[in-house]
Amino acid sequence: MTSAAEAGLLRVEGLGRAYDDHYALVDLDAEFPPGSVTALLGPNGAGKSTLIGILSTRQSATEGRVYFDGRRVADSASMRQRIGFVGHRTMVYSELTARENLQFFARMFGLVSPDDAIDALLDRVGLMRDKDRPVNGFSRGMSQRLTLARALLPKPSILLLDEPLTGLDQAGVRLALTLFREARDAGAVLIMASHDLVATSKLADRALILSSGRKRFEGATGEDLAAVYAECIGEAA
C-alpha cells in the first residue's frame, strides 16, 4: 500500500546509465514531489536528456530503480499511461488536422469520449479556429501549442518537459507556463529541462543540477535559480 508520504512522489535511486565508453548518469538519487516543478539543469552532456529518457521509458537504465507512487516502476506501459511529454520537436503528424492529431493520441491513451476535452484544450491553446486545418499549414509556434495540448490531454501525473518553450512567442510562453502551473496545482510532478534560466525560474520551485552525469545540487531554489546554477557549475548560464 502507498504511504501518504509517497503518494504521487517520483523517486530515482542509484540510477545509472552506461554507454560503451562513458557514463551518462552516475548513481543518481533524487525525488520529484507531486505538485512541484523541478528545473533539470546542467551544461551540455550533463545527463539531463538521459534522465528524461529513462523517466519517459524511452531509454533503459543500466543501474538503479525508479519508483512512482511508492511502487517500483516495472511495467513501462502502465508508467506511460501517466506520463505527458513535451519536447523541442513538435511530435505531431503534419498531414492530420489539429483535431485529428488529438483524437489519435486520445485513442493511444485509451481515453473514452475525449471530444469535449479535445475542444476545450484546443480552445485553451488558441487553436479552435484552426482545429480542422492540417498541421502542415501551421507555424512552428502553433504546432508547439498543439504539442502542449497533446501532452496535457490525458491529464498526466508526470509531465516531462525537454526544452518545451522552443518556437513559442511571448504569448505562447506565457500560455505554456500557465498550463504547466495548472498541471502542478492539480498535483502533477513536472520536470523541466531547459537552458532558458529566465523562463525556468518563473515556473520551477526546485532544481536538480547535473554535471558529467553526477548530481551537483538538489533542492528548493525560489528566485535564485541562476545564482544556484552559477555556484554549482562555476559558470553563468
Binding site: 524511452r58 519536447g87 520537436r89 511530435m91 489519435f104 481515453l111
Partner: protein, 231 residues
Amino acid sequence: MSGAAPGYVAILSAVLVKDLRAELRSKETLATMGLFGLVMTFILAFGFTADPATNRRVIPGALWIALLFAGTLGVGRTFAREAKDDAFSALILSPAPRSAVLLAKMIVNFCLSLSVMVLVTPLLAIMLRVDLLPSLGPIMLMLALGAGGFAVVGTPLAVMAVNARFAEVLLPMVVFPMVSPVLIGGVKGTSVILGTTFGDDGVGGWIQLMLAFDVAFGVGGLFLFERMVTE
C-alpha cells in the same frame, strides 16, 4: 473522459486509419512507389523486347525486381513521415501496445507494396506481351507473400534506421540481403507457375518457404519491437 489501458485492436485500427488517412492526403508514398513502378515497367519492357516466349521467361525476374525496389522505397517513406517531426516518439511514449503499432505499420506497408504490384503486373504483362491471366491468382498469391516478406522485415528495420544518419542508404543495404529468401522463392515460384522452369517439383515448396519466412520474421519482429524502440 477517463483513461484505461488501450486495447490491442483499437490501437491497431487507429494507427491503420491514421496512416491511410495521412497517405490519402499526401499521396506521397503511393505516388513515389507507383511512379517508380511505372518507370521500371517501361525500362524493362523496352529493354527486354523479344518474342513472347522469351518474355515469358523474363517476366518473373521483372516482377520481383519491381517489388524489390518499390517495397524498399515504400518502407523507407512510411517511416520518414513518422520521423519528420518526431511524431513516432509521441506514439511510442503512449501506453499503446507497441507491437500493435508495429503490426499496423506492417499492414500499411504490405498494402502499399501490393497495390503497386496490382498496377505493375498487368502493365508488364501487356508491354511484354505475356498472357498472365490463366495464372494470375497464383502469381498474385506469390506477390502477396513477397510483399508480406518486405513488410515484416523492412518495417522493424525502418524503425531502427529512422533516426540513423544515411537512413535511405542504410535501409536497402540491410533489407536486401535479409529478404533474399523471399526473392529467390518468389522468382523461382513464379517461374514454376509460368512453366518456364523445368525439373522442379512444383510451386508448393516455394509458397511454404515464403509463408514460413513471413510468419517467422513477423512474429519475431513483434516480440522484439519493445527492445528495438528502447534505447
